[in-house]
Symmetry: C2
Subunit: 331 residues, 2 copies
């Protein structure tokens, strides 16, 4: 009996593939290579038409921007302080208009001009479906952030609000869930911007490095929320063999975010927020909040392995309940 | 009127894309990044089902091996002396059997175990077509090989025979062109091996570095013959604003290679040979021939910009005449 990839699911596939790499090598957002004066950090992300973008919700220049932002977000979540650039593998059918490719590269270049780095190289091929595979290279600062470095007692923090990208997608798709809901114009604009032009949090990471209390060692747990806030917290807890308590009142959403079940779900599991999700000693977290007004405490790290609970009810946060959101097309 | 990628063709597409990168950045097989004690060299290659491989001619483990070999060949042709590893973006439909993916990764790992490096990281996504996008990272030795560094008077050399991979493909496809031709068993075996398990020429490059005459500077022109021997020579000539004279008697094929027009064409334009093609000062070339019995002189570099001629007839080598081989499916 042949098992298919669809039957395995992504996490089992990744678990099996990790056996082909050195132990622990695939457990972080990116890999580090020795180099003086600063180690090099490298990350690969692939974006496929119909899965990660579509003509309905994403202009060609936004496809390029998002591809760079997704990669640089992983670099920031690994501790990168500068970007060398990217290599770009472009696959597309022969009937693809040049103006689509031109738009994509205009977006790639705009994001690189904004956050650093150049197009270093790449490859092109014909294929049945449009896709981009980007590899980004940057330099580590003094702190190599690992998913597995969270510790019980740490404060769980994030660099910004969550759910906006998912709302932006719903607006662009004219999603039925929004019919009859009167959203503030500012929220609509912020959501669409966040979906089309997400910001890799390199500046927030630099600020974090600048404000470490001298008495503390260079140790923090970290990842980004590209797969959603809850998935990021699960990744930290699972790699660090810890748990977490989240405070319902501290869910990190924008000020004008509506209340209700759908909105909490989009905040926790909407995905593609590209914010830093960090596990920090309290003194360091406090300094970061003072310097980064967008940053938020969302909970605490506990010693209860893989248990992620609400603060007041102590109820486990039912990750299954969010899984169907991950199978919602995110385009 | 919208131009499509199919109308543009690959070389015009690459020319247009190069405008988005720093000047000259995309003219070599790979990019170099500053790093001590040795610069890092990085290269991305994409392999698409139905274009670069197929179930007919390529076992899953050979797909993995060839993907690594193609990338490491580019690193060798840039002057790399060691390999750090690769990142792997895997795209495949949900119905793909796990055993196909397992085979591909077994081949990736076997090639890395043979030539150095590990799987550093990567990404997976669903998609309509199987493909691999690999980024390889290695360290430069004392010589950064550039396509644009050939000089008139240089000897044109290659690290081995050409055409075997194209013959291997024809054998695996039971190509009509071979019907009624009695090929030696040794040639058949060598051809199929060369197609399924090509060897990136890192050792030949290391040997070249070891035998440079002290009186000469670190300067040579270089590329690899992944797109065919003639395309490699054209690349050197065009980037270096030179020409070349090839000697019909020195066409680099294996000893038991049949004679005839088809066989010369496969030697010159068959592709996927993954040999080094270098432009060297004569004294350096001579030392390399002495140490590398497989290496061959194939001609000379001239000052006649973009003119590639036969030695005795002085006739231009009609590249158009070979173009239809490049549109032959190479799977």
């Amino acid at each position: 009996m042949k098992e298919t990839l669809g039957e395995l699911g992504e996490s089992e596939l990744l678990r099996r593939l990790s056996r082909f790499a050195p132990p622990g090598q695939l457990s972080d957002d990116s890999a580090a290579l020795e180099s003086d004066p600063r180690p090099i950090v490298v990350n690969t992300d692939v974006l496929v038409d119909g899965i990660h973008f579509s003509d309905v919700s994403t202009k060609p220049s936004d496809v390029g921007w998002r591809a760079v932002a997704a990669n640089l977000s992983d670099l920031a979540a690994s501790g990168a302080i500068s970007v060398d650039g990217i290599t770009v593998a472009l696959v597309a059918p022969g009937e693809t208009p040049w103006c689509w490719v031109e738009g994509v590269y205009t977006g790639l270049r705009a994001a690189l001009d904004a956050y650093g780095g150049v197009i270093l190289g790449g490859d092109c091929s014909k294929g049945s479906q449009r896709l981009l595979s980007i590899t980004a290279l940057g330099r580590l600062g003094p702190l190599r952030l690992h998913r597995g470095d969270a510790k019980p007692g740490d404060i769980l923090v994030t660099s910004g609000p969550h759910g906006l990208s998912r709302l932006g997608l719903a607006i662009l798709q004219n999603d039925q869930a929004l019919h009859g809901i009167d959203l503030p114009d500012a929220l609509r604009t912020a959501a669409v911007n966040q979906h089309q032009r997400p910001i890799p949090r390199l500046a927030a990471l630099q600020d974090l490095l600048n404000c470490k209390p001298e008495s503390l060692p260079w140790r923090a747990g970290g990842t980004d929320s590209s797969d959603g806030l809850l998935a990021a917290i699960q990744g930290l807890c699972s790699s660090s063999e810890c748990g977490a308590v989240l405070d319902e009142k501290l869910l990190p959403h924008s000020n004008d975010w509506p209340s209700g079940k759908l909105w909490n779900r989009w905040c926790l599991a909407g995905g593609e927020d590209f914010e830093l999700v960090l596990s920090l000693p309290e003194a360091w977290a406090q300094r970061w909040f003072d310097r980064q007004p967008q940053s938020r405490q969302i909970g605490w790290i506990t010693a209860e392995k893989n248990m992620i609970r609400w603060r007041h009810s102590r109820q486990l946060i039912d990750t299954e309940g969010f899984d169907h959101f991950r199978t919602t097309p995110t385009v």
